[in-house]
Amino acid sequence: MASSSQRIASLLATVLALAACSSAPVRIGNDAVDEIALAANAPRAACVRLGDFSDHRPVEELGTLGYREFAYQDYSGWLRRQLAARMGKDSPDAAPLQVELLRAYMETNRSTLTFTVVLRSQLGDAPPTVHRGSDTRVNWFNSDSELGNFIERASAAAIKHLMVTHQVGCSART
């Protein structure tokens, strides 16, 4: 027998699900996800520059919530710009860092949503490193801006991991 809290949880889940009943695809734009570009304390890796950046995602769509498909067409471009902005630009001493975008997708639970971004970087002949960022929290409104915030936080975590990894590399080389 369902407890009253389980019934209310079900009701909340239904209300949240109904908010996603529209089947119109959601197109995330750059305006929804540009905040981390402004983050003052984002780590940087000045001794490397962005070399080849390739998108190897098996699917470009970010996922679905109910019948709503979420897509951010410029995600790959936005991410590349975020990475380039944090690396040494046009410095002759900066080594080229190859970066692959492997995954960007969301998973849903009854009331929570997880967005995951997976990158892989390689400097010269060194072994490649995987950088993963993910953000899990309660999904309240299914709004574009809420989705954009998930993408920002997960991307920021993956970028931070990549930068910190190569900052350490920079220190080791100097």
Partner: protein, 301 residues
């Protein structure tokens, strides 16, 4: 005012019917009889995941009322975060493991050719909308529809592949408002037209702990090789089981004896009293209702 007898009787009958519906285990329907010409030319493969997943933890009862519901949501969020953090190194270790080509290959090599043409198109669908559109377009023809999930249970005790298989006229029809509805809904309507089965292959740890951290450490031996081995084997085993059973339904009765099996999967792992169909080395095939599942011998209680 006291209700009249017929009203009470109707209420009682209604409650009885409702309760018996809740308690029943779904029974297998007959496989539709298909001529060579009406075999399916499309296999729909519904796959809504990009990496190995972990089942969501069962948060239980938050204590009642709105506060309780909010407690449950908060607990679910907290536990889900923990599971996502825990599975990250596993996913990193499997970052180059591609489940999809394996799935497609396993489907192709195990097609039940009595029901599906050997050259059938295998179409991967990643969203509910894409699946709906495909099912509407295929209305009136036989189709094999497979819903896949590959995951760990919430405590990382087992890895499993689950396939929900539907064969027959699984098409959808649109109503006057454009909403898609199943053509056949009730058991009576589906009988002879659609067969629905669940095929599962699960690889539980031989010595699982109640806490997920030591279980993850066991899976991560040799850089996560036990995981990719188990996942590959589960994909092949589940598909082989489906192909075999759809070609010629496995007969099962109680001759194999009933035992307790843990069926891993969403929303929670569950202990089932089920019939053993056969054993093969360390593997045991059991059945419960429309579920057919391979598990390890040490997974039998």
């Amino acid at each position: 005012m006291t209700p009249r007898l017929p009203l009470r009787l109707f209420v009682l009958l209604g409650m009885t019917a409702l309760l018996s519906a809740c308690a029943s285990v779904s029974q297998r329907l007959p496989t539709p009889i298909v001529s060579d010409e009406s075999r399916a030319s499309v296999v729909l493969l519904a796959l809504n995941q990009q990496e190995l997943e972990v089942d969501k933890p069962d948060v239980g009862n938050g204590g009642g009322g709105l506060i309780g519901a909010l407690i449950e949501v908060a607990a679910e969020s907290y536990m889900d975060k923990n599971r996502q953090k825990a599975i990250a190194p596993i996913r990193d270790a499997l970052v180059d493991f591609r489940a999809e080509p394996l799935l497609v290959e396993a489907v192709r090599s195990n097609l039940p050719v009595n029901l599906v043409r050997p050259d059938a198109e295998i179409r991967i669908l990643r969203s509910a909308k894409a699946l709906e559109d495909a099912r509407v377009s295929l209305e009136g023809s036989n189709t094999l529809l497979l819903y896949y999930r590959y995951a760990f249970d919430a405590e990382f005790r087992a890895i499993y592949v689950r396939m929900d298989a539907h064969f027959g006229d699984v098409g959808l029809v649109r109503d006057s408002k454009g909403r898609a509805k199943a053509k056949y809904k009730s058991t009576k309507q589906k009988t002879g037209k659609i067969v629905e089965m669940v095929y599962q292959s699960q690889f539980p740890l031989s010595d699982p702990s109640n806490s997920y951290t030591p279980n993850i450490a066991r899976w991560m031996k040799d850089g996560g090789k036990p995981i990719s081995d188990a996942l590959s084997a589960a994909i092949i085993e589940a598909n082989a089981l489906a192909g075999r059973d759809l070609r010629s339904p496995l007969a099962f009765d109680s001759n194999g004896g009933k035992a307790s099996y843990i069926r891993y999967g969403y929303p929670t792992a569950m202990k089932l009293k089920a019939v053993r169909i056969e054993t093969s080395g360390e593997r045991v095939l059991f059945s419960s209702g429309t579920l057919l599942a391979w598990t390890a011998r040490h997974g039998v209680q």
